[in-house]
Symmetry: C2
Subunit: 215 residues, 2 copies
Protein backbone atom coordinates (compact mmCIF):
# COMPACT_ATOMS: atom_id res chain seq x y z
CA UNK A 1 0.00 0.00 0.00
CA UNK A 2 1.53 3.35 -1.00
CA UNK A 3 1.80 6.32 1.33
CA UNK A 4 -0.90 8.19 -0.59
CA UNK A 5 -3.31 5.25 -0.32
CA UNK A 6 -2.67 5.09 3.38
CA UNK A 7 -3.46 8.78 3.79
CA UNK A 8 -6.75 8.50 1.96
CA UNK A 9 -7.85 5.53 3.99
CA UNK A 10 -6.69 7.44 7.06
CA UNK A 11 -9.23 10.15 6.17
CA UNK A 12 -12.00 7.59 5.96
CA UNK A 13 -10.90 6.04 9.26
CA UNK A 14 -10.78 9.45 10.93
CA UNK A 15 -14.36 10.11 9.77
CA UNK A 16 -15.51 6.72 11.08
CA UNK A 17 -13.87 7.46 14.44
CA UNK A 18 -15.55 10.89 14.48
CA UNK A 19 -18.86 9.11 13.87
CA UNK A 20 -18.27 6.85 16.89
CA UNK A 21 -17.58 9.95 19.01
CA UNK A 22 -20.75 11.72 17.85
CA UNK A 23 -22.79 8.54 18.36
CA UNK A 24 -21.26 8.11 21.84
CA UNK A 25 -22.27 11.66 22.76
CA UNK A 26 -25.75 11.14 21.27
CA UNK A 27 -26.50 7.98 23.25
CA UNK A 28 -25.12 9.50 26.46
CA UNK A 29 -27.14 12.69 26.04
CA UNK A 30 -30.26 10.74 25.05
CA UNK A 31 -29.91 8.63 28.19
CA UNK A 32 -29.42 11.72 30.37
CA UNK A 33 -32.50 13.31 28.80
CA UNK A 34 -34.42 10.09 29.47
CA UNK A 35 -33.38 10.00 33.11
CA UNK A 36 -33.89 13.71 33.82
CA UNK A 37 -36.71 14.58 31.40
CA UNK A 38 -34.49 17.33 29.95
CA UNK A 39 -36.38 18.46 26.85
CA UNK A 40 -33.66 20.84 25.60
CA UNK A 41 -31.09 18.04 25.71
CA UNK A 42 -33.49 15.72 23.88
CA UNK A 43 -33.94 18.37 21.17
CA UNK A 44 -30.17 18.67 20.92
CA UNK A 45 -29.81 14.93 20.29
CA UNK A 46 -32.54 15.07 17.65
CA UNK A 47 -30.88 18.04 15.92
CA UNK A 48 -27.45 16.45 16.23
CA UNK A 49 -28.35 13.67 13.83
CA UNK A 50 -27.68 15.72 10.66
CA UNK A 51 -23.88 15.72 11.08
CA UNK A 52 -24.00 11.93 11.37
CA UNK A 53 -26.05 11.61 8.19
CA UNK A 54 -23.63 13.98 6.46
CA UNK A 55 -20.60 12.00 7.62
CA UNK A 56 -22.17 8.79 6.36
CA UNK A 57 -22.70 10.39 2.93
CA UNK A 58 -19.16 11.81 3.01
CA UNK A 59 -17.62 8.42 3.79
CA UNK A 60 -19.60 6.85 0.96
CA UNK A 61 -18.29 9.55 -1.41
CA UNK A 62 -14.71 9.16 -0.20
CA UNK A 63 -14.84 5.40 -0.67
CA UNK A 64 -16.38 5.85 -4.10
CA UNK A 65 -13.56 8.24 -5.05
CA UNK A 66 -10.84 5.92 -3.76
CA UNK A 67 -12.33 3.00 -5.67
CA UNK A 68 -12.84 5.03 -8.85
CA UNK A 69 -9.41 6.57 -9.02
CA UNK A 70 -7.17 3.88 -7.55
CA UNK A 71 -8.85 0.60 -8.45
CA UNK A 72 -7.92 -0.96 -5.10
CA UNK A 73 -7.81 -4.74 -4.82
CA UNK A 74 -7.56 -7.36 -2.08
CA UNK A 75 -7.39 -6.13 1.51
CA UNK A 76 -7.59 -2.46 0.65
CA UNK A 77 -10.75 -2.96 -1.41
CA UNK A 78 -12.24 -4.96 1.47
CA UNK A 79 -11.47 -2.08 3.81
CA UNK A 80 -13.03 0.48 1.49
CA UNK A 81 -16.17 -1.60 0.96
CA UNK A 82 -16.47 -2.31 4.67
CA UNK A 83 -16.02 1.33 5.61
CA UNK A 84 -19.21 2.19 3.72
CA UNK A 85 -21.17 -0.42 5.64
CA UNK A 86 -19.65 0.50 8.99
CA UNK A 87 -20.72 4.10 8.36
CA UNK A 88 -24.28 2.88 7.69
CA UNK A 89 -24.31 0.96 10.98
CA UNK A 90 -22.99 3.99 12.88
CA UNK A 91 -25.62 6.21 11.28
CA UNK A 92 -28.29 3.74 12.37
CA UNK A 93 -26.91 3.83 15.93
CA UNK A 94 -27.36 7.61 15.80
CA UNK A 95 -30.96 7.08 14.65
CA UNK A 96 -31.60 4.86 17.67
CA UNK A 97 -30.31 7.59 20.02
CA UNK A 98 -32.72 9.97 18.25
CA UNK A 99 -35.61 7.50 18.78
CA UNK A 100 -34.85 7.58 22.52
CA UNK A 101 -34.71 11.39 22.54
CA UNK A 102 -38.01 11.62 20.61
CA UNK A 103 -39.68 9.46 23.25
CA UNK A 104 -38.54 11.98 25.89
CA UNK A 105 -40.07 14.77 23.81
CA UNK A 106 -43.29 12.80 23.23
CA UNK A 107 -43.90 12.24 26.94
CA UNK A 108 -42.67 15.66 28.14
CA UNK A 109 -43.47 17.18 30.66
CA UNK A 110 -44.13 13.71 32.08
CA UNK A 111 -41.11 11.48 32.60
CA UNK A 112 -40.63 8.94 29.79
CA UNK A 113 -39.75 6.15 32.24
CA UNK A 114 -40.90 5.33 35.79
CA UNK A 115 -38.44 5.93 38.62
CA UNK A 116 -38.01 2.22 39.37
CA UNK A 117 -36.38 1.73 35.95
CA UNK A 118 -33.93 4.64 36.20
CA UNK A 119 -31.10 2.40 37.32
CA UNK A 120 -31.72 -0.10 34.48
CA UNK A 121 -31.69 2.60 31.80
CA UNK A 122 -28.68 4.32 33.40
CA UNK A 123 -26.82 1.01 33.07
CA UNK A 124 -28.00 0.58 29.50
CA UNK A 125 -26.77 4.07 28.66
CA UNK A 126 -23.37 3.34 30.19
CA UNK A 127 -23.01 0.00 28.37
CA UNK A 128 -24.13 1.60 25.10
CA UNK A 129 -21.55 4.38 25.48
CA UNK A 130 -18.78 1.91 26.29
CA UNK A 131 -19.69 -0.25 23.32
CA UNK A 132 -19.41 2.62 20.85
CA UNK A 133 -16.25 3.91 22.54
CA UNK A 134 -14.66 0.47 22.12
CA UNK A 135 -15.90 0.38 18.52
CA UNK A 136 -13.97 3.60 17.90
CA UNK A 137 -10.88 2.02 19.45
CA UNK A 138 -11.18 -1.04 17.20
CA UNK A 139 -11.36 1.24 14.16
CA UNK A 140 -8.39 3.25 15.38
CA UNK A 141 -6.10 0.47 16.55
CA UNK A 142 -7.29 -2.55 14.53
CA UNK A 143 -6.87 -4.46 17.79
CA UNK A 144 -9.09 -7.49 17.24
CA UNK A 145 -9.02 -8.43 20.92
CA UNK A 146 -11.21 -5.38 21.70
CA UNK A 147 -14.06 -7.12 19.87
CA UNK A 148 -14.35 -9.46 22.85
CA UNK A 149 -14.96 -6.49 25.15
CA UNK A 150 -17.61 -5.24 22.75
CA UNK A 151 -19.31 -8.64 22.94
CA UNK A 152 -19.31 -8.40 26.76
CA UNK A 153 -21.06 -5.00 26.69
CA UNK A 154 -23.51 -6.36 24.15
CA UNK A 155 -24.28 -9.30 26.47
CA UNK A 156 -24.81 -6.74 29.24
CA UNK A 157 -27.34 -4.86 27.08
CA UNK A 158 -29.14 -8.14 26.27
CA UNK A 159 -29.21 -9.04 29.97
CA UNK A 160 -30.65 -5.64 30.94
CA UNK A 161 -33.24 -5.95 28.16
CA UNK A 162 -34.38 -9.32 29.53
CA UNK A 163 -34.34 -8.01 33.10
CA UNK A 164 -36.63 -5.17 32.07
CA UNK A 165 -39.15 -7.66 30.70
CA UNK A 166 -39.23 -9.35 34.09
CA UNK A 167 -39.93 -6.02 35.79
CA UNK A 168 -42.63 -5.01 33.34
CA UNK A 169 -44.39 -8.38 33.46
CA UNK A 170 -44.26 -8.74 37.25
CA UNK A 171 -47.40 -8.37 39.34
CA UNK A 172 -45.87 -5.30 40.94
CA UNK A 173 -45.88 -3.33 37.70
CA UNK A 174 -48.17 -0.40 38.50
CA UNK A 175 -47.70 1.83 35.45
CA UNK A 176 -50.10 0.25 32.99
CA UNK A 177 -49.87 -0.85 29.39
CA UNK A 178 -48.66 2.35 27.75
CA UNK A 179 -45.65 2.70 30.05
CA UNK A 180 -44.88 -1.00 29.57
CA UNK A 181 -44.81 -0.54 25.80
CA UNK A 182 -42.75 2.63 26.10
CA UNK A 183 -40.01 1.09 28.19
CA UNK A 184 -39.94 -2.10 26.14
CA UNK A 185 -39.40 -0.18 22.90
CA UNK A 186 -36.82 2.06 24.57
CA UNK A 187 -34.99 -0.97 25.87
CA UNK A 188 -35.09 -2.53 22.42
CA UNK A 189 -33.43 0.60 20.97
CA UNK A 190 -30.47 0.08 23.32
CA UNK A 191 -30.34 -3.61 22.49
CA UNK A 192 -30.29 -2.88 18.73
CA UNK A 193 -27.66 -0.19 19.33
CA UNK A 194 -25.43 -2.90 20.79
CA UNK A 195 -26.10 -5.27 17.89
CA UNK A 196 -24.97 -2.67 15.37
CA UNK A 197 -21.73 -2.07 17.29
CA UNK A 198 -21.07 -5.81 17.24
CA UNK A 199 -21.62 -5.83 13.48
CA UNK A 200 -19.12 -3.00 12.98
CA UNK A 201 -16.52 -4.67 15.17
CA UNK A 202 -16.96 -8.05 13.46
CA UNK A 203 -16.45 -6.45 10.06
CA UNK A 204 -13.16 -4.98 11.16
CA UNK A 205 -11.97 -8.17 12.81
CA UNK A 206 -12.81 -10.02 9.62
CA UNK A 207 -10.58 -7.67 7.64
CA UNK A 208 -7.77 -7.57 10.18
CA UNK A 209 -7.53 -11.26 11.02
CA UNK A 210 -9.21 -12.90 8.04
CA UNK A 211 -11.41 -14.83 10.46
CA UNK A 212 -14.83 -15.65 9.09
CA UNK A 213 -17.45 -12.96 9.53
CA UNK A 214 -20.27 -14.53 11.56
CA UNK A 215 -23.46 -12.74 10.78
CA UNK B 1 -20.73 -0.92 -20.50
CA UNK B 2 -19.45 -4.03 -22.27
CA UNK B 3 -21.53 -7.17 -22.75
CA UNK B 4 -19.42 -9.07 -20.22
CA UNK B 5 -19.89 -6.34 -17.61
CA UNK B 6 -23.59 -6.43 -18.20
CA UNK B 7 -23.71 -10.18 -17.69
CA UNK B 8 -21.84 -9.98 -14.42
CA UNK B 9 -24.09 -7.28 -13.09
CA UNK B 10 -27.03 -9.32 -14.35
CA UNK B 11 -25.87 -12.15 -12.04
CA UNK B 12 -25.83 -9.80 -9.09
CA UNK B 13 -29.25 -8.45 -10.02
CA UNK B 14 -30.66 -11.96 -10.40
CA UNK B 15 -29.39 -12.80 -6.90
CA UNK B 16 -30.95 -9.63 -5.48
CA UNK B 17 -34.27 -10.50 -7.14
CA UNK B 18 -34.02 -14.03 -5.75
CA UNK B 19 -33.49 -12.49 -2.31
CA UNK B 20 -36.69 -10.42 -2.68
CA UNK B 21 -38.58 -13.62 -3.59
CA UNK B 22 -37.24 -15.53 -0.59
CA UNK B 23 -37.96 -12.57 1.69
CA UNK B 24 -41.49 -12.30 0.24
CA UNK B 25 -42.10 -15.98 0.98
CA UNK B 26 -40.61 -15.61 4.47
CA UNK B 27 -42.83 -12.68 5.47
CA UNK B 28 -45.93 -14.35 4.01
CA UNK B 29 -45.24 -17.65 5.78
CA UNK B 30 -44.35 -15.86 9.02
CA UNK B 31 -47.66 -13.99 8.86
CA UNK B 32 -49.60 -17.19 8.16
CA UNK B 33 -47.86 -18.88 11.09
CA UNK B 34 -48.75 -15.89 13.25
CA UNK B 35 -52.40 -16.00 12.25
CA UNK B 36 -52.81 -19.77 12.49
CA UNK B 37 -50.30 -20.68 15.20
CA UNK B 38 -48.67 -23.12 12.77
CA UNK B 39 -45.46 -24.15 14.54
CA UNK B 40 -44.08 -26.21 11.65
CA UNK B 41 -44.43 -23.25 9.29
CA UNK B 42 -42.75 -20.96 11.84
CA UNK B 43 -39.84 -23.42 12.07
CA UNK B 44 -39.62 -23.43 8.28
CA UNK B 45 -39.30 -19.62 8.21
CA UNK B 46 -36.60 -19.76 10.90
CA UNK B 47 -34.68 -22.45 9.00
CA UNK B 48 -35.16 -20.62 5.71
CA UNK B 49 -32.97 -17.74 6.80
CA UNK B 50 -29.66 -19.47 5.95
CA UNK B 51 -30.14 -19.22 2.15
CA UNK B 52 -30.72 -15.47 2.58
CA UNK B 53 -27.53 -15.08 4.61
CA UNK B 54 -25.67 -17.12 2.01
CA UNK B 55 -27.02 -15.00 -0.86
CA UNK B 56 -25.99 -11.83 0.95
CA UNK B 57 -22.44 -13.20 1.31
CA UNK B 58 -22.46 -14.34 -2.32
CA UNK B 59 -23.51 -10.91 -3.59
CA UNK B 60 -20.80 -9.27 -1.51
CA UNK B 61 -18.25 -11.64 -3.03
CA UNK B 62 -19.54 -11.09 -6.57
CA UNK B 63 -19.36 -7.32 -6.15
CA UNK B 64 -15.89 -7.61 -4.68
CA UNK B 65 -14.77 -9.69 -7.68
CA UNK B 66 -16.28 -7.27 -10.19
CA UNK B 67 -14.59 -4.33 -8.48
CA UNK B 68 -11.25 -6.14 -8.16
CA UNK B 69 -11.01 -7.38 -11.69
CA UNK B 70 -12.73 -4.65 -13.70
CA UNK B 71 -12.06 -1.44 -11.77
CA UNK B 72 -15.52 -0.09 -12.56
CA UNK B 73 -16.12 3.64 -12.34
CA UNK B 74 -19.03 6.05 -12.35
CA UNK B 75 -22.52 4.55 -12.61
CA UNK B 76 -21.37 0.95 -12.71
CA UNK B 77 -19.32 1.37 -9.55
CA UNK B 78 -22.33 3.00 -7.87
CA UNK B 79 -24.44 0.01 -8.86
CA UNK B 80 -21.92 -2.47 -7.54
CA UNK B 81 -21.50 -0.61 -4.25
CA UNK B 82 -25.26 -0.23 -3.85
CA UNK B 83 -25.92 -3.88 -4.59
CA UNK B 84 -23.91 -4.82 -1.50
CA UNK B 85 -26.00 -2.54 0.67
CA UNK B 86 -29.29 -3.60 -0.88
CA UNK B 87 -28.37 -7.21 -0.10
CA UNK B 88 -27.74 -6.21 3.52
CA UNK B 89 -31.17 -4.58 3.74
CA UNK B 90 -32.86 -7.63 2.22
CA UNK B 91 -31.04 -9.92 4.63
CA UNK B 92 -32.27 -7.75 7.48
CA UNK B 93 -35.84 -8.02 6.16
CA UNK B 94 -35.43 -11.79 6.30
CA UNK B 95 -34.26 -11.45 9.93
CA UNK B 96 -37.44 -9.54 10.74
CA UNK B 97 -39.58 -12.34 9.27
CA UNK B 98 -37.60 -14.74 11.47
CA UNK B 99 -38.28 -12.56 14.54
CA UNK B 100 -42.02 -12.88 13.82
CA UNK B 101 -41.74 -16.65 13.38
CA UNK B 102 -39.76 -16.97 16.63
CA UNK B 103 -42.52 -15.16 18.48
CA UNK B 104 -44.99 -17.79 17.18
CA UNK B 105 -42.66 -20.52 18.46
CA UNK B 106 -42.20 -18.78 21.83
CA UNK B 107 -45.94 -18.58 22.52
CA UNK B 108 -46.88 -21.96 21.05
CA UNK B 109 -49.28 -23.73 21.73
CA UNK B 110 -50.93 -20.44 22.67
CA UNK B 111 -51.67 -18.04 19.84
CA UNK B 112 -49.08 -15.25 19.54
CA UNK B 113 -51.75 -12.61 18.91
CA UNK B 114 -55.33 -12.16 20.14
CA UNK B 115 -58.15 -12.78 17.65
CA UNK B 116 -59.20 -9.13 17.51
CA UNK B 117 -55.85 -8.24 15.91
CA UNK B 118 -55.92 -10.96 13.24
CA UNK B 119 -57.22 -8.60 10.60
CA UNK B 120 -54.58 -5.95 11.40
CA UNK B 121 -51.71 -8.43 11.14
CA UNK B 122 -53.21 -10.01 8.03
CA UNK B 123 -53.17 -6.57 6.41
CA UNK B 124 -49.60 -5.95 7.61
CA UNK B 125 -48.52 -9.25 6.10
CA UNK B 126 -50.14 -8.38 2.78
CA UNK B 127 -48.60 -4.90 2.66
CA UNK B 128 -45.21 -6.32 3.62
CA UNK B 129 -45.40 -8.91 0.85
CA UNK B 130 -46.46 -6.30 -1.72
CA UNK B 131 -43.64 -4.00 -0.67
CA UNK B 132 -40.95 -6.64 -1.18
CA UNK B 133 -42.59 -7.80 -4.42
CA UNK B 134 -42.45 -4.21 -5.74
CA UNK B 135 -38.86 -3.95 -4.54
CA UNK B 136 -38.01 -6.95 -6.70
CA UNK B 137 -39.72 -5.25 -9.65
CA UNK B 138 -37.72 -2.05 -9.13
CA UNK B 139 -34.50 -4.09 -9.14
CA UNK B 140 -35.61 -5.97 -12.25
CA UNK B 141 -37.03 -3.10 -14.32
CA UNK B 142 -35.21 -0.04 -12.91
CA UNK B 143 -38.61 1.63 -13.16
CA UNK B 144 -38.27 4.51 -10.71
CA UNK B 145 -42.01 5.17 -10.68
CA UNK B 146 -42.53 1.92 -8.73
CA UNK B 147 -40.80 3.56 -5.77
CA UNK B 148 -43.95 5.62 -5.25
CA UNK B 149 -46.01 2.45 -4.87
CA UNK B 150 -43.48 1.19 -2.36
CA UNK B 151 -43.90 4.41 -0.40
CA UNK B 152 -47.70 3.87 -0.37
CA UNK B 153 -47.34 0.37 1.10
CA UNK B 154 -44.87 1.74 3.62
CA UNK B 155 -47.40 4.41 4.65
CA UNK B 156 -49.97 1.62 4.99
CA UNK B 157 -47.64 -0.28 7.35
CA UNK B 158 -47.04 2.88 9.39
CA UNK B 159 -50.81 3.50 9.56
CA UNK B 160 -51.49 -0.07 10.73
CA UNK B 161 -48.71 0.26 13.31
CA UNK B 162 -50.32 3.42 14.73
CA UNK B 163 -53.79 1.83 14.61
CA UNK B 164 -52.51 -1.09 16.66
CA UNK B 165 -51.29 1.29 19.36
CA UNK B 166 -54.81 2.70 19.59
CA UNK B 167 -56.24 -0.81 20.05
CA UNK B 168 -53.68 -1.83 22.64
CA UNK B 169 -54.05 1.38 24.66
CA UNK B 170 -57.85 1.46 24.57
CA UNK B 171 -59.87 0.68 27.68
CA UNK B 172 -61.24 -2.38 25.92
CA UNK B 173 -57.86 -4.09 25.76
CA UNK B 174 -58.41 -7.23 27.82
CA UNK B 175 -55.20 -9.17 27.17
CA UNK B 176 -52.83 -7.61 29.67
CA UNK B 177 -49.33 -6.21 29.52
CA UNK B 178 -47.47 -9.18 28.05
CA UNK B 179 -49.78 -9.47 25.02
CA UNK B 180 -49.59 -5.69 24.56
CA UNK B 181 -45.79 -5.83 24.42
CA UNK B 182 -45.87 -8.87 22.12
CA UNK B 183 -48.12 -7.28 19.52
CA UNK B 184 -46.30 -3.93 19.69
CA UNK B 185 -42.95 -5.56 18.98
CA UNK B 186 -44.46 -7.71 16.23
CA UNK B 187 -46.02 -4.65 14.65
CA UNK B 188 -42.70 -2.86 14.85
CA UNK B 189 -41.03 -5.72 12.94
CA UNK B 190 -43.46 -5.15 10.05
CA UNK B 191 -42.91 -1.40 10.21
CA UNK B 192 -39.11 -1.84 10.07
CA UNK B 193 -39.54 -4.36 7.25
CA UNK B 194 -41.23 -1.60 5.24
CA UNK B 195 -38.52 0.93 6.08
CA UNK B 196 -35.82 -1.37 4.73
CA UNK B 197 -37.75 -1.86 1.47
CA UNK B 198 -37.99 1.91 1.09
CA UNK B 199 -34.23 2.19 1.62
CA UNK B 200 -33.56 -0.39 -1.10
CA UNK B 201 -35.92 1.31 -3.55
CA UNK B 202 -34.46 4.76 -2.86
CA UNK B 203 -30.95 3.48 -3.51
CA UNK B 204 -31.99 2.16 -6.88
CA UNK B 205 -33.89 5.30 -7.81
CA UNK B 206 -30.83 7.32 -6.88
CA UNK B 207 -28.71 5.31 -9.28
CA UNK B 208 -31.27 5.24 -12.06
CA UNK B 209 -32.40 8.86 -12.00
CA UNK B 210 -29.52 10.58 -10.23
CA UNK B 211 -32.04 12.14 -7.86
CA UNK B 212 -30.67 12.78 -4.38
CA UNK B 213 -30.86 9.88 -2.01
CA UNK B 214 -32.90 11.06 0.98
CA UNK B 215 -31.83 9.10 3.98
Amino acid sequence: MSEIDRNELAHVNADLILMTQLVGKAITDATTALLTGDLALAQQVIGGDDPLNDLNAKIEDECFQITSTQAPVARKLRMVMSAVRMATSLERMGDLAVHIAKQVRLRYPNPAIPAELHETFAQMGKAAFKIVEKTGEVIETHDASLAEQIAIYDDELDRLHRELFTTVLSENWAHGVEAAIDVTLLSRFYERFGDHAVTVARRLVHIVTGEPYNR
